[in-house]
Amino acid sequence: MNISQEVLRVVDEVLSLNGRSATFTRDTPLLGAIPELDSMAVVTLITTLEEQFGLVVDDDDIDGSTFATVGSLTDFVSSKLAT
């Protein structure tokens, strides 16, 4: 499984980006840079990642840096899958 690609697919779908994520790289900023990423969208992202990857997010694990960039979010998912 290409985790980065799967994460981007989820981001695109949840935020209704209609394919805009195709230009995203690891360094693309998310939180504060994408207007669609409000608190409800953050929750939907976490929930969808849980469902699609079969992982459980402990809410006190989450902080702003998790959603800073495409790379930080991918690394977060990878670390959850590794445990």
């Binding site: 669609e36 929750v43 809410d59 006190d60």
Partner: protein
């Protein structure tokens, strides 16, 4: 076809400030079904913001079912939408009572053509948390009904967790989220409400949702049905292990179960208001397929 909008007076046992429920009624169009209505359908909306996101799809589906010969009632529960009361006034049982009242109204209302409207099948159509309310209401109704579930959760607990998480996410956007979840849980355990994304969540509603489970009501009649729908935008989607397990429980309890995975967005939570036309078509076909 325009639905009829009206306020349904709530049960006398409830407080005077919370005495009206906003309803939309879609009369059955019987031209297609030979003059008689085919059934009654009560829509039970999902939790908090999901209800608003799903309103458009609910209206589209209600119209489609009405065209297929079903009388459909869409009701805003206490403290939701255009009904009276505040969200913070709602308890799980008050919502179950609203659903029961919707069932009784559908059975009693006189403008559903049919040889004997008491014999028409009653469908409880839930979306997300609405499925959990449907099951509890059916348990208290004491009369047979069919179930139509859209994206049903196997239990209420993950839904509560997702809702509480909105607060964590809000504080995360503001800077600091650590310990927010634990502090909210503590508040609720102490009997105090918590405010999340503009909704005041009462301890009674939180505990009702947390304990809700999608277990089949006991003793169904021989012909009771469950139509189970999930949406996915993946080509290779299948039912999750927990859905498969829950469906098996319903089959073992004697229900005739149809399960369907339909292509479409998670319209109750997407950022933009989105439609899932394939879900409407498949749902109408499944309900109509006696």
């Amino acid at each position: 076809m325009q639905p009829e909008a009206f306020f349904l007076p709530a049960l006398a046992a409830q407080t005077s400030q919370s005495d009206q429920r906003f309803c939309l009624f879609y009369p059955a169009d019987c031209a297609a079904s030979g003059g008689a209505a085919r059934g009654l359908v009560l829509y039970i909306h999902p939790f908090a913001e999901e209800m608003n996101k799903a309103r458009h799809m609910a209206a589209l589906q209600a119209r489609a079912l009405a065209r297929a010969g079903y009388a459909v009632l869409q009701m805003d529960l206490l403290g939701c939408g255009d009904s009276s009361g505040d969200f913070g006034d709602a308890s799980w049982q008050s919502w179950v009572s609203d659903v029961l009242q919707g069932c009784h109204w559908l059975r009693k209302q006189s403008n559903t053509p049919g040889a004997d409207s008491a014999q028409l099948p009653l469908w409880l159509w839930g979306l997300r948390a609405g499925c959990l309310l449907a099951v509890e209401a059916a348990r208290q109704l004491g009369a047979p009904c069919n179930f139509l579930f859209w994206q049903p959760p196997a239990a209420g607990r993950p839904l509560l967790q997702q809702f509480l998480r909105l607060k964590v996410a809000g504080d995360l956007l503001g800077g600091q989220a650590k310990g927010v979840m634990e502090s909210m849980r503590q508040h609720l355990a102490n009997g105090s409400p918590v405010e999340i994304a503009g909704y005041l969540l009462s301890p009674g509603l939180a505990s009702g949702l947390e304990q809700a489970a999608l277990a089949p009501p006991a003793g169904p009649g021989p012909t009771q049905r469950l139509e189970w729908f999930e949406l996915s935008t993946r080509e290779d989607a299948g039912l999750s292990p927990i859905s498969t397990k829950t469906i098996t429980q319903w089959q073992q309890a004697g229900y005739r179960v149809g399960s369907h995975i339909v292509h479409g967005p998670a319209f109750w939570q997407t950022t933009e208001i989105e439609d899932a036309p394939a879900l409407i078509t498949a749902t109408t076909a499944a309900v109509n397929n006696d």
